[in-house]
């Protein structure tokens, strides 16, 4: 799968037209989770966040490539052999937005200084 094909919009579109074999919203959701998980630990339960994790981005992302661009500018991504390696101190909180009617993802960073 190329970088272009991992865009949230692309994943949703191919699901819509049936060409991608992603027939259900659940499958789309899983595909998106896989993309976000390349950068850090994804959780839906705020209680799972480490106690020393603080909000890095107040904004909510709806596209994994947008989050990647944001993290890259902050020096918060790691790659090896062209593949993204999830960083242990990057946490991503997944939540459903009733307003947007879709899942959103927010970046938290652990304070690993102690």
């Amino acid at each position: 799968m190329t970088m272009h094909e991992t865009r949230a919009e692309y994943i949703r579109r191919i699901a819509d037209d049936g060409a991608g074999g992603l027939a259900t919203s659940g499958e789309i959701e899983i595909a998106l989770d896989v993309e976000y998980a390349k950068f850090g630990q994804v959780t839906e339960n705020i209680g799972d966040l480490p106690t020393d994790a603080h909000i890095r981005a107040r904004g909510l992302f709806t596209d994994p490539q947008d989050m990647r661009e944001y993290l890259e500018r902050g020096g918060l991504v790691s790659t090896s052999g062209g593949e993204y390696q999830p960083l242990s101190w990057v946490w991503i909180l997944k939540s459903y937005s009733d307003l947007l009617q879709e899942y959103t993802y927010q970046v938290f960073i652990r304070d690993t200084s102690d």
Partner: protein, 301 residues
């Protein structure tokens, strides 16, 4: 504690004369677009023609657009120490508003379409601490600031200037200095988001046949092209107006006539010709279109 400056309102001619005298006398002063501050005497001279009476909480004062904008930012966003962004975000200031010129031309049916209060239309749906690109939400929602400044165009636009202002200009005599300042409202991502949304609209305008774009104004060489672009604007709930239409000529950058509207440069006959250029370079226009729809849903939800 910083001593508050004495404010002196001057007529435009007096203001210009004061600036000249200060420069001739070699007095050090900080120059704003419509004010001059002299640190040594704690005096600020203000061009009265740029001011409006503004409710500043304790009293009503004649203030500049920048002063009104800063007051409303503080009133609505609270005590911000800094917006919060990483060192590399500074590159986001490299974003530019869309400028596009496809070369000189003539047409019998030019149409000039303007977005109404473009900056304001955008930032009323944004957060000053928005994350780039295309994040939703933040601590400092701008709807309140936008609402308070709605009636004053110069103050509305001053908000955007403040969000990217990193320098002050000072003079001693006729020597000009740039002074780096601290600005608690500085937000590279806010600026970049506004530019990107304007570049998305410009990308669409070019696709519909626009031949000249300056930030939020789009000239089309035919009624049909303009009509199709306006349908696009309607679909995405942009507020716009047709500023001018009719036969005309585009001679060069900032030199055109569309119907009854003639720019100052055009009246002077300058410039003639000019090479085509563009600052519109947006690879992910489709994503920005979806972001705009999400912003609208988020803001009105």
């Amino acid at each position: 504690m910083t001593k508050k400056n004495v404010r002196v309102l001057l007529a435009p001619a007096e203001f210009r004369e004061t600036q000249r005298v200060l420069m001739d006398d070699g007095v050090y002063f900080i120059a704003g677009s419509s004010s001059l501050s002299i640190p040594a005497t704690h005096t600020t001279y203000i061009d009265q023609s740029s001011t409006r009476l503004w409710d500043m909480g304790d009293n009503v004062e004649a203030v500049t657009p920048g002063e009104a904008a800063r007051y409303e930012l503080a009133a609505h966003l609270g005590d911000i120490r800094r917006v919060g962004w990483s060192r590399n975000d500074i590159t986001l200031f490299d974003h530019r508003v869309p400028l596009y010129f496809s070369g000189p031309g003539r047409s019998e049916e030019y149409v000039l379409v303007d977005l109404v209060g473009a900056y304001h239309q955008i930032y009323r749906l944004l957060w000053l601490d928005v994350s780039y690109p295309r994040a939703l939400g933040g601590r400092y929602y701008m709807a309140g600031v936008a609402g308070a400044l709605e009636s004053w165009k110069a103050a509305r636009n001053a908000v955007v200037g403040i969000s990217r202002s990193r320098e002050m200009t000072a003079y001693r005599g006729y020597n000009r200095y740039s002074i780096t300042t601290t600005n608690r409202y500085l937000s590279p991502a806010f600026w970049a988001t506004i530019c990107s949304l304007l570049c998305w609209v410009a990308t669409e305008a070019i696709a519909y046949g626009a031949v000249y774009i300056n930030t939020d104004g789009y000239i089309f060489p035919s009624e049909r092209m303009a009509d199709e672009f306006m349908l696009f604007l309607l679909r995405y709930d942009w507020l716009f107006t047709v500023r001018a239409r009719g036969p005309g000529e585009i001679r060069g950058w900032n030199s055109y006539k569309v119907g009854a509207k003639e720019t100052h440069h055009y009246k002077l006959g300058l410039p003639i010709g000019g090479k085509e250029f563009t600052s519109v370079n947006l690879a992910d226009a489709e994503k920005w279109s979806r972001y705009w729809l999400r912003l609208r849903r988020y803001g009105t939800g």
